[in-house]
Symmetry: C2
Subunit: 196 residues, 2 copies
């Protein structure tokens, strides 16, 4: 299975209104803190790979941001490897991941093996289901608000899945032509480069 | 904390009899299958490090080997990094580990990062508690039967812990002078080298 996703910048208030009108189902909110690593033996920026340790806390539905600290209620810790793009347009890539019992120990293992933390991406994600697609409202620290439309597809269905994702964006009043193909990590690193 | 352990070859039937006479407490049996990896950027054999993915199945007490398949009753999957020796005589080293939800995915992550499976060590372990030490009867595929005596110790207590482990071996009718400092992985790889 491949993950087909398209992402645009978008004001969340407008998109929430549209999701409500379309009868989308809210399916939860999380806060994710992702640490991305540099490898000791490869330039991931060149090989287009990524190694990530994610800590995720689930939040109660409808909970206000100001209560975030108190209401964090579930921890998930996951190690993910992302391979190079197999389909450029929809940013499709191989992903392998496993939950870990102890993200700090996972960090220590990679650190001992010579992998250095390169950047941290922190975001709040609000998920909706719409027409078989997952619509995610991302508020990313230091970057702003984005909307992702995502679905899993077999290799033979990638093209159709991407067209479907574009249609969902359309329904939400968003423009598929404004798709951003750079990852949040990439955007953050680009900002850092620009400000140096 | 450091893990202090001493290991000798020993016939298990004799040792079980001695453990019984000494009033040792049987505390469980497991089957472990360990995959050790080669790194793409370091020679672990030279740096004296190891990276391991372990799958462990617990067994019911007293269960015969012939029923092993049916009675496997718990899976544990763990990623472990072992650093170089900090104390030669007792084989003391830094260990970092975390449970993983999916050992196969953990394997795939390391594989994608260029770590190759170098060897697999499969063993059945039978644990006893005796005088504050853990006595482990290991039956290792392709290697035979061993007994390990093990305890955790602070850095300042390593010497005393090792002397205590020798005393336990003595009590079991085993000779601390026959201590084997090579890991099962090392013994297996040595056998492979010898048979080439």
């Amino acid at each position: 299975m491949y993950e087909v996703e398209v992402k645009v910048r978008a004001d969340h208030d407008d998109v929430r209104e549209r999701l409500d009108e379309l009868g989308a189902t809210p399916v939860g909110r999380v806060v994710q803190e992702d640490v991305y690593y540099d490898a000791p033996h490869r330039e991931f920026a060149e090989t287009d790979e990524a190694l990530r340790v994610r800590r995720q806390r689930r939040r109660a539905r409808g909970e206000g941001d100001e209560r975030a600290g108190a209401a964090d209620r579930h921890d998930e810790e996951v190690v993910t490897y992302k391979g190079p793009l197999v389909e450029e347009e929809s940013k499709t890539r191989r992903e392998v991941e496993t939950g870990v019992a102890d993200a700090e120990a996972a960090h220590d293992v990679f650190d001992a093996l010579g992998f250095d933390p390169a950047a941290t991406v922190r975001k709040e994600r609000e998920y909706y289901e719409l027409d078989g697609y997952t619509v995610t409202l991302d508020a990313v620290d230091d970057l702003g608000e984005f909307v992702e439309v995502e679905v899993e597809a077999d290799e033979s269905d990638i093209e159709a899945a991407r067209e479907g994702a574009y249609a969902v964006l359309d329904d939400l009043g968003l423009d598929p032509d404004e798709q951003i193909r750079t990852s949040y990590l990439g955007l953050l690193l680009a900002d850092e480069d620009a400000s140096e």
